[in-house]
Symmetry: C2
Subunit: 418 residues, 2 copies
C-alpha cells in the first residue's frame, strides 16, 4: 500500500479551513455525534480490536502491552471522555489584551485554531479518540499515526469518526489516520510543513529525538520525566514516606512517577529505612548510593546504584536513593539529572520552599506533594493531550488552550503610520 | 580561526542559570551599564565600524546596505534604546492562573526566562545591542551571529557589552557572538539543542528555510510578509488612497509593507487610476492584472503582472494590483497568496469587517488601517525582537513576554494522588 502523504496534508489543510468557521455549539454537536457513532458501531470496533489482540498474543506481546491495546472494557470510558470534551469551555474565539492605543487604533488578540496537528503515538487505541476530540473541539484538523499493534482498531475508530463527522456536515478529512505503519510515512509527515503546523509525539525518548531531528515543523517534545523528590531535615517524615510511596508506586509506568529520592544526610539513618520498609511491601527495588547503603539492612531488593542510574527514567518499580549533604547539593543533583518534568521538595522550612520554587527550573515544581499531579486532568485543565518539557508555546500539561494560537485584530479609522 | 561551538553553548547555559536569579533592579542596572559603556567606548566602536564601512565600499555594497551598516549617526539611538528597555516592565516572575483546587492543592504559573537564545541576523550592528538588551531584560543568555559585513563593529560592541556585564557582577558569557562568519557555525548553532532553547532567524526567506530544515531547536520563523489590502466598494476612497500610499511607500523595504492591492470590480475604474496617480509621485511601479490594466492609462511605470507576481514580497517600490469581483474572491486570493503576516480590508460595511476579521487567518488582520502597524513598537509592546508568522509560542510582533516561558508551581500539604 502506498500512502500519498501530500494528499493527506492537502485534505487536512482544506478541512482545517472549514473547521475554523464552526462555532462551539456545532463543534460540540460533532463530538456527541462521534460518541454516539462509537456506541452504535461498538460491535465492529471491538471485533477489529479482538483481531489486533489475537495478533498481539501470537506475537508474544507482554500482558502490560496487551492491556493497553484492549478496548473491550474501555469503550464506555472512551465515549464518556468524548462527551466530557464537549462540556469543556471552548478557548477558540476568546479575546484578550484589548486596548485602544493613544492614536485611536483599536487592537486585541483573538484565540484561533492552530490549523493542522500531526500526532504520533503508540499502542493505546483510546488515544485515537482522545486526540481527535481535543483537536476538533479547538477547530484543528489532525493527522494521526498510531501504533502498529492497533492498526485495525484505529481504522475502525477512524471510519466511525469520519462517518459521524459527515453526518453533522463536518469535513471528514478533519480526522485522518496514516493507514500504513511503514516508518517512512512518519518521516514524510515530519516534512509536510506546507500543511501541518504542529507535531506532537507521544512516546519514548527515541521517538521524541527522531521528531526533533527530522521535522521541519515545530515539535512539542516532552513526556520524558526523570523526577526527583528532595527530603529536607525539617520534613514531616510520616508525610514524606507517604508522598514518596505515592509518587513511586501509584502508577510507576508513567512520566511523572518518582525516579530518584534525595535525602538530607542528617535524617538519612532515620528516614531511608522507613522508605525501604514501606515501599518493599509494594515490590519496589532500590538502587542506593554508598551513603544510603550504609544506613539500610542488606536485602535482595536493595542494590548499589550503578553508573548512569541517576539518568534513567525507570518507568518501573525501581527507586534510586541518594544522600546529599544539604539543599544546595540536592539542587545541583536536580540541575544535572532532571529532565525538567516534575521535581519536588518535602520540607517544613518556608525559606527552602521559596528557594526550591525559585531555583528549580522544571515544568512542574512541587512543595510537599506527590509528583503524580503533573497531569492535565489533575491540574484543572479537564483533559490532556501531552506534557511538554520544552519551553516554547506550552510547558507542562497541555490541553485545549495549548492547541490554539492567536491573531492580532487591528481596527482603525483610516490610520496611517507617520 | 576555529570556534568551539560546544564551548559557546556550555558557557551560555551556565550564564543563563546565573542570569535567571537576578531581579529586575539588577537586570536594569546591567542595561544601564551597557548603555554607559557604549557611550564611553564610542570612539573604538565607531573606529571598528568605519573599517567595516571602508571594506563595504571597497566590496561595492549598495548605498542602502552601507546605510544599514553605518553606526556613525546611530550610536546615540542605540544607547537610548538600551535605556528604554530598562524602563519596560519585566515579565519574568509574573504569576498567573493561580487557583486552589478542590483537593486543596495550590497551583499557579510563574513566568521564567527561556534559557539560551540563538539569534541569527544580517547587516545591522544596532541589532546586536537590541537583541542583547531584550535577552538580558528577560534573564536569557544569547548567542549572536551577525552579518559578515559588520563583524568588526559587532566584536567591538560585544567586547563593550561583556565588560559592562562583568562590571556589575553579571556573567559575561550571557552575551556571546560567534566570532567567525563561516556558515558552518550557523549549522552547528542549529544543532546545539543541549544548550540552546530557541532560534530566532532575522533575515530573508532563505535563512528561515535553512533554519527550519536544519535546526533541532525550536525556530521562530517569520518576517516574510506578502501583504494585501482589499478595497471594497463601500470604502471611503479618499481614505483608501491615503492608506494604500502609506502601506506601500512609508518604508517599502520592510515585511509589513503592502505588496498586493485587491480592488472590487465595481469601483476599479474610479479607484485604481487615483492610486496610480498618487503613488506615481512616490516613484512606485505597478504590476497590474488585465482588468486593472484596462482602466488605467498606459505609462512606463504600469506593467502587466507576470506569472508569479502575486507570490513575491517586493520589499521595494512595486505594487501589484488585481481586480476581484467581490469579497469572496478577495478572500480566496489572500488565502492562496498571503504569507499570513499582515492583511487588511478597507470598507465601511460592518458585516464585511467582521467577516474579514473572522475569516482571514494572518498574524495581523486589519480593518481600515495601514499594514505598517505590525511592529512591536507600534502595537504597544515597547520593543520588538522579531515578527512571527508561525503559529506556535508567539504570533505577530514579539517582544519581552515572547522571550519567556512559565513553570507550574504546585504547593501541597502532603498531597498524594488517589
Amino acid at each position: 500500500m502506498t500512502v500519498d502523504m501530500q494528499q493527506l496534508g492537502r485534505q487536512a489543510k482544506a478541512a482545517s479551513k472549514r473547521l475554523s468557521q464552526f462555532d462551539t455549539a456545532a463543534k460540540n454537536k460533532a463530538l456527541h455525534a462521534i460518541a454516539g457513532a462509537i456506541d452504535a458501531n461498538s460491535a465492529a470496533i471491538l471485533e477489529a480490536n479482538a483481531a489486533d489482540m489475537e495478533d498481539g498474543r501470537a506475537a508474544g506481546l507482554t500482558s502490560a502491552l496487551l492491556d493497553r491495546l484492549n478496548l473491550a472494557r474501555r469503550l464506555d470510558g472512551v465515549t464518556s471522555d468524548a462527551r466530557s470534551v464537549a462540556e469543556l469551555p471552548d478557548p477558540v474565539g476568546e479575546e484578550f489584551d484589548a486596548q485602544t492605543l493613544p492614536n485611536g487604533l483599536k487592537i486585541r488578540k483573538r484565540r484561533t485554531p492552530i490549523g493542522v496537528l500531526g500526532v504520533i503515538y503508540e499502542s493505546r487505541p483510546n488515544v485515537t479518540v482522545d486526540v481527535a476530540t481535543l483537536a476538533l473541539k479547538t477547530g484543528n484538523a489532525v493527522i494521526l499515526r498510531g501504533g502498529s499493534e492497533t492498526l485495525r482498531s484505529n481504522l475502525a475508530l477512524i471510519d466511525t469518526i469520519q462517518q459521524a463527522l459527515a453526518s453533522v456536515g463536518f469535513p471528514k478529512h478533519a480526522v485522518q489516520l496514516i493507514p500504513d505503519q511503514d516508518r517512512r510515512y512518519v518521516a514524510e509527515l515530519l516534512k509536510l510543513s506546507d500543511y501541518v503546523d504542529m507535531i506532537i509525539p507521544r512516546g519514548g525518548n527515541r521517538l521524541h529525538t527522531f521528531c526533533r531531528e527530522n521535522s521541519t515543523i515545530p515539535v512539542i517534545t516532552g513526556g520524558i520525566g526523570i523526577c526527583h523528590l528532595y527530603v529536607d531535615a525539617t520534613a514531616d517524615q510520616d508525610t514524606a514516606v507517604t508522598i514518596v510511596q505515592n509518587a513511586k508506586v501509584q502508577r510507576p509506568s508513567v512520566c511523572n512517577a518518582l525516579d530518584t529520592l534525595l535525602v538530607q544526610e542528617s535524617i538519612a539513618e532515620a528516614f531511608i529505612p522507613r522508605v525501604i520498609e514501606r515501599l518493599t511491601q509494594d515490590g519496589v527495588e532500590f538502587h542506593v548510593d554508598e551513603q544510603a547503603g550504609a544506613v539500610v539492612d542488606a536485602a535482595d531488593n536493595v542494590k548499589p546504584a550503578g553508573a548512569g542510574d541517576w539518568d534513567i527514567e525507570w518507568l518501573d518499580l525501581i527507586l534510586g536513593i541518594r544522600v546529599v549533604p544539604d539543599f544546595d547539593a540536592a539542587l545541583a543533583h536536580i540541575n544535572e539529572h532532571s529532565t525538567a518534568h516534575s521535581d519536588g521538595i518535602l520540607t517544613s522550612d518556608p525559606a527552602l520552599m521559596e528557594r526550591f520554587l525559585n531555583e528549580v527550573d522544571s515544568a512542574a515544581v512541587y512543595v510537599n506533594a506527590s509528583t503524580r499531579f503533573t497531569d492535565g486532568g489533575q491540574l484543572g485543565l479537564g483533559a490532556e493531550i501531552a506534557v511538554s518539557t520544552q519551553k516554547l508555546h506550552a510547558r507542562g500539561p497541555m490541553a485545549l488552550e495549548a492547541l490554539t494560537t492567536y491573531k492580532w485584530l487591528i481596527v482603525g479609522e483610516g490610520h496611517t503610520r507617520p
